[in-house]
């Protein structure tokens, strides 16, 4: 197998596995930059996957080929609304944010499977008839070498995720809104003194994380899982959370980490076909992303500088 063919067999699936993680991790970056820990990313993805699949199954006849696109938009909106629960608990009710996030995970899965049983009479939905399909990107796909590696047989959602990462970076680091959002996460009292509404910023950030988590979950469901059950989202949200921290709470860093995780996941799927990896027991490929994350946290990235007020409810007038 030549080097180009090797890349051709690794990179498209890596992009394919990364996209949901990138979306969700970007949401996590927004939330945590504003000072709200979001361990509920997993639950937000579950909600997104559930809504995406149910909408797709219900409206496939109405919207035809546009169904997956409308599905992910609806999933984004519903998950954004769902995340308000986390915002209310952790911003207004001063709940322990990690605990509230754990509750979000419980609630999303409970609700999703409960409603699935309610509406479909069984624990899992049928397969969707209108998932996302791979396409070739016009013109770019014809570039020699690069074209087959990056632009043939790929999901458009992967590129959407990468573009959104740059958009998120621009918003957080180049706009007044982003500056305020980060200020609230670093030193809420100082921000408050300067007339920034801390609660409002945090609500917005958590809702953005809900929207992005829902987007990630629905993209996962409509490209990879294709149905919904209790086992559709198993840990992708936690992976996204790891990507947030691995990426040092920076949108592009999170994207890089998510791409790395996607790459590692694709290795465990296609590893058998690669000469060098064919003899490695599959378990090592399976645990590689997790072990590497631990090693990276322990060694390579050093002490990551989390937003300073991350995890602390802001109480006006206290210091």
């Amino acid at each position: 197998m030549g080097f180009v063919e090797l890349l051709q067999s690794i990179i498209p699936p890596a992009l394919f596995f990364s996209a949901p993680l990138i979306f969700t991790a970007l949401g996590g970056v927004f939330s945590e930059r504003s000072g709200v820990v979001n361990i509920g990313l997993e639950g937000l993805m579950v909600m997104g996957a559930f809504v995406g699949i149910v909408f797709n199954l219900t409206f496939a006849d109405v919207f035809g080929v546009w169904t997956p696109w409308i599905s992910i938009i609806i999933a984004t909106i519903i998950s954004a609304i769902f995340s308000i629960i986390h915002a209310v608990a952790s911003v207004s009710f001063r709940a322990n944010q990690v605990v509230s996030g754990v509750a979000i995970n419980f609630l999303a899965l409970g609700l999703g499977v409960f409603l699935t049983k309610q509406w479909f009479g069984k624990g899992q939905t049928d397969m969707v008839s209108q998932p996302f399909y791979t396409t070739d990107i016009p013109i770019l796909a014809n570039i020699p070498i690069i074209g087959p590696i990056l632009f043939q047989n790929i999901y458009v959602s992967s590129y959407l995720a990468i573009i959104l990462a740059f958009v998120a970076w621009f918003i957080l680091y180049k706009t007044p809104f982003g500056l305020r959002l980060r200020a609230v996460g670093e030193h809420p009292m100082a921000a408050d003194t300067n007339g920034i509404n801390v609660s409002k910023m945090r609500y917005i950030a958590v809702i953005v994380s809900g929207a992005m988590g829902g987007l990630g979950g629905s993209v996962f469901a409509l490209t990879i899982a294709l149905n919904f059950s209790h086992a559709t989202i198993v840990g992708q949200g936690f992976m996204a959370l790891a990507a947030v921290i691995f990426g040092k709470w920076h949108p592009l860093g999170a994207m890089g980490a998510a791409l790395f995780f996607g790459f590692a996941q694709s290795l465990s799927v296609i590893g058998g076909g690669i000469p060098l990896l064919a003899d490695v027991p599959q378990v090592f490929l399976l645990i590689a992303p997790y072990v590497l994350t631990i090693l990276a946290l322990a060694g390579f990235i050093g002490r990551a500088e989390a937003p300073r007020a991350n995890g602390e409810p802001y109480i006006k007038g206290s210091r």
Binding site: I39, A89, F106, Q282, V283, I294, L297
Partner: protein, 348 residues
């Protein structure tokens, strides 16, 4: 004066009430009779001796994972990795259970201790990384959950069995099963493990409330800087707390391996015992006695829920929703306190 103690009892009670009340409303919305639903739940948990036996069986590991999470919480650490510690404990217990040959008074203790040690090791890693490098324990324990899951599956497949999905049963000399208790409960899967779990609850109470170690752990949990200034080793205490917490969760795994199932299977996903342990610890306000009560409540809810689809047509997941709402209520205890205080003022 409304003392803290009163809140510590009132807040969980109100939270449970909110959860159950919301559950009733959800049942109403979807056209079920909430009374039928809750009667089915109660019957499924305590309806006859068989169900009581099953409830106790479910309570046993939940009690231990609850204690594990609560113990770490007392030292200011969030052990979200009880799940992985349960899995490695389960694996270690079964491994010893099927590979050794010894009288029961040697074999059983060794199998149980192996589980505790495996869990302790799984807790030591995040403890060490937190203490020495400041790596957040939440993220490391989440990662270790997956490492535990996939590695244990691989070991079950290729080391403990010949490429099968489950191991053989543990030797009788390593089993916690009790013919006596089973006969008493129409052959439920109840086993002696509940005694160990209760013993550990007493042990945790003793360590936290009556020893210097417990005092230091609590002190570190309240304020690391003050503890350091007072001459305590913060690092040592963080590691110790995670190791003991992991050992408790590892024991929970041995309850499954030596008691309920007698073997270990390839797991398609997490057991959820560790995650449920978080809920148990929170409801129990991180105290030993509170965790015991909370474990019984959650055990009863989980086992009783299995009866709801057949008796009342309600999906079992309703209980997960109820549990989630209970956690939310407890997390938002600030607002509950505020409401209680306001209510008291107006009452006067």
């Amino acid at each position: 004066m409304t003392s803290n103690k009163m809140f510590n009892i009132l807040v969980p009670l109100i939270s449970v009430f909110i959860g159950l009340f919301a559950g009733a409303i959800i049942m109403l919305i979807f056209g079920y009779n909430p009374i039928d639903g809750y009667v089915a739940l109660w019957q499924g948990a305590f309806g006859d001796l068989y169900f009581i036996g099953e409830t106790v069986r479910q309570v046993t590991p939940l009690l231990l994972t609850g204690l594990a999470v609560a113990f770490a919480f007392r030292a200011g650490l969030f052990n979200i990795g009880a799940e992985g510690q349960v899995i490695v404990g389960w694996l270690a217990a079964v491994w010893i259970g099927i590979s050794m040959d010894a009288p029961i008074y040697i074999h059983l203790p060794i199998a149980i201790i192996a589980a505790a040690l495996a869990g302790a090791l799984w807790g030591f890693i995040p403890g060490l990384l937190k203490a020495s490098l400041g790596v957040h324990e939440v993220i490391v324990t989440i990662m270790l959950n997956y490492v535990a899951l996939y590695s244990s599956n691989a070991i079950v497949r290729s080391v403990l069995s010949d490429n099968e999905d489950k191991t053989e049963n543990v030797a009788a000399s390593a089993s916690l099963a009790s013919e006596w208790l089973q006969g008493l409960t129409y052959f439920s899967r109840i086993h002696y493990g509940i005694l160990i779990a209760l013993l550990i609850a007493i042990l945790m109470w003793f360590i936290i409330e009556r020893t210097t170690i417990g005092y230091e752990l609590k002190s570190v949990g309240f304020n690391q800087h003050a503890s350091k200034y007072a001459g305590m080793s913060v690092k040592r205490n963080i590691i110790l707390a995670m190791v003991i917490s992991g050992a408790f969760a590892g024991l929970a795994g041995s309850m499954e391996g030596l008691g309920t199932f007698q073997h270990i299977t390839v797991q398609n996903g997490f057991t959820n015992l560790g995650f449920d342990g978080i809920a148990v610890a929170l409801l129990g306000a991180n105290t030993a006695i509170g965790v015991v009560l909370a474990a019984f409540l959650f055990g009863a809810l989980k086992v009783g829920a299995l009866n709801m689809p057949t008796e009342a047509g309600v999906p079992t997941e309703l209980v997960d929703i109820i549990i989630a709402l209970i956690i939310f209520s407890i997390a938002s205890s600030y607002i509950i306190r505020l409401l209680i205080l306001r209510f008291k003022k107006e009452g006067k």
